[in-house]
């Protein structure tokens, strides 16, 4: 992985003018202190409903610039929806979301696409274009948005593939890649346009421990080396705690806990204790709401 960081650092020197420099470079995590005033994403009073069911109800959140932020919560609490709101894939019913100084409310498609060029997203399944090779997948945003000569595109793509350790798999098709490799190619594609914000939607789902470890290290190293802001949605409490600077726990449409992974572990809240401890029953009940058990069993009509 040493060569990975070296390659990426060379690229960072050529980063676009006006872009925020990395706040902490490659320092150890223990040196980092959260600077909450420097947020790259501000979410204020966001309401969002689907088919009459409230997903968010007055959500407030600040995503600090240059850090790895983890968003956790029980299933169905709207973690992926939050990412879709931040990336403008869906619009909030009320409230404001400001991403890198741009308010998403009322933003036109053209301006939204301009904003998205400063964002990268790693989808749960990688979402590689299945008719293109790994190389062409990574080259895709460059071919769509730039007029760079083929030689430069080739260099950029190979650099990014080297950063995720898959330069040798450049010519393979997505169907020939394993789940972990698939996500690493998607990660290379997500960083090829040098985004400011990198969003990961459940990046560890279905991965073996080795692939999971590789993705974890890449999240941390790419964030530090490229000066990104990373937002990771995940259920894997222990894994994500090893790389996250700040953790947000969502429940009931709000942020119920926020802090460093260490702070979260000792947070005085039942929902946090249940989630972090992986307890089957608690504020999030084991049983889905149902009529009386015995009454239903003994009912003449089968209780259905």
């Amino acid at each position: 992985m040493k060569t990975v960081t070296a390659d990426v650092r060379v690229k960072t020197k050529k980063s676009k003018p006006g872009r925020s420099p990395p706040e902490h470079g490659c320092r150890g995590r223990s040196d980092r202190k959260l600077n909450q005033s420097s947020s790259i994403i501000d979410i204020r009073g966001v309401n969002y409903s689907v088919s009459g069911r409230a997903i968010f109800d007055g959500l407030d959140m600040d995503i600090p610039r240059g850090r790895v932020s983890a968003v956790m919560g029980p299933s169905g609490t709207g973690k992926t929806t939050l990412l879709r709101l931040i990336s403008g894939q869906v619009r909030a019913d009320a409230g404001s979301i400001v991403v890198a100084g741009t308010a998403l409310e009322g933003l036109g498609r053209k301006d939204l696409f301009a904003l998205r060029r400063s964002m990268g997203m790693l989808f749960q399944n990688g979402a590689l274009l299945t008719d293109l090779s790994a190389f062409e997948n990574v080259a895709f945003p460059l071919r769509e948005h730039t007029d760079l000569p083929e030689r430069i595109i080739r260099q950029l793509v190979l650099t990014k593939l080297q950063a995720v350790g898959l330069r040798g798999a450049a010519e393979l098709m997505p169907a020939e890649l394993s789940g972990g490799m698939n996500r690493r190619v998607a990660l290379a594609r997500a960083i090829v346009m040098d985004p400011q914000i990198l969003i990961y939607d459940e990046p560890f789902v279905g991965l073996d421990p080795i692939s999971m470890g590789v993705i974890l290290r890449l999240i941390r190293r790419l964030n530090d080396a490229l000066g990104l802001t990373s937002i990771v949605v995940s259920h894997d409490v222990h894994e994500i705690s090893s790389v996250a600077d700040v953790v947000y726990l969502l429940s009931g449409g709000k942020v119920v806990a926020k802090g460093t992974p260490q702070e979260l572990a000792s947070f005085p809240s039942e929902i946090v204790k249940q989630f972090v401890g992986g307890l089957a029953d608690g504020p999030v009940p084991f049983h889905y709401p149902a009529p009386d058990y015995f009454g239903q069993l003994l009912a003449r009509d089968g209780g259905r």
Partner: protein, 255 residues
């Protein structure tokens, strides 16, 4: 019952309006897509070249059946020599465009709808949006244009092979005079008949391609959603093609 019919009618109109808006979105992106002709030629190959075998085989068999039935009917009136005219008119004006459109919907239309539906289900379209690339311009428009270009060509090939099928049965098997077969066809089939066939196949090309890309693009991102979109593509295309066929035929007969 009337309530259900009314709801169904409103839903159909709603869907039709949505489809027209989608067509306008496609047309707005078309000039830019034309600059990347390679994407379109790839789709012409996918929808056209890969459909050739089924189109040619179907054309041959339809032509052979037409030759048999036509011969059977015409010999009752002692005018077997008109078989060439009957087969050519039937194929060029009606069977060529209509059967090609139905086969296109079944072969290329379902392929387009399921491909787009799967791209939706596997987040490939969302990934493009996140890369600030409009999937309509990059994925939908080339597929739509590929279908529009392909359909008249396939219909022409279908009609041509069909006429040879009718000739095979009529002239070779039933011993209709070959000279009469071709000369009567040449003197009776006019440019207007050919134009009608071209207009029909072009309109069917737009309709079938639009239905396929619309259903695929708007498919629910599940296995059932993709399956339902594929089924709707075939059913809607078949009904619309037959309806449009009547309208265009009536228009040409009136004119």
């Amino acid at each position: 019952m009337f309530g259900d019919l009314w709801t169904s009618l409103i839903e159909s109109l709603d869907r039709l309006g949505d489809m027209v808006r989608f067509l306008l979105r496609i047309l707005a992106q078309t000039p830019r897509a034309l600059l990347r002709f390679q994407l379109i030629t790839d789709q012409v190959y996918n929808t056209g070249a890969l459909s050739l075998v089924i189109i040619m085989l179907s054309g041959l068999f339809v032509g052979m059946v037409l030759g048999l039935q036509g011969f059977e009917l015409l010999q009752r009136f002692g005018s077997e020599e008109a078989l060439g005219t009957a087969a050519a008119i039937g194929l060029v004006k009606e069977l060529g465009p209509v059967v090609t459109a139905l086969l296109f919907a079944g072969r290329a239309g379902t392929a387009l709808a399921s491909e787009l539906g799967l791209m939706r289900a596997t987040d490939q379209l969302s990934a493009m949006e996140m890369m600030a690339v409009d999937p309509v311009g990059r994925v939908v428009v080339p597929r739509f244009l590929g279908g529009v270009i392909t359909m008249p060509l396939l219909a022409a090939i279908f009609s041509m092979i069909g006429i040879y099928g009718a000739q095979l049965v009529g002239v070779q098997f039933m011993h209709v005079d070959g000279g009469s077969f071709w000369s009567q066809m040449q003197s009776s089939v006019g440019l207007r008949d050919i134009n009608e066939g071209i207009v029909k196949s072009a309109v069917f090309g737009v309709a079938c391609s639009l239905i396929a890309v619309y259903e695929g693009y708007h498919a629910a991102p599940t296995a059932e959603g993709v399956g339902a979109a594929t089924t709707r593509t075939v059913v809607t295309s078949a009904v619309i093609v037959l309806f449009l066929d009547y309208l265009i035929t009536a228009f040409f007969l009136r004119g």
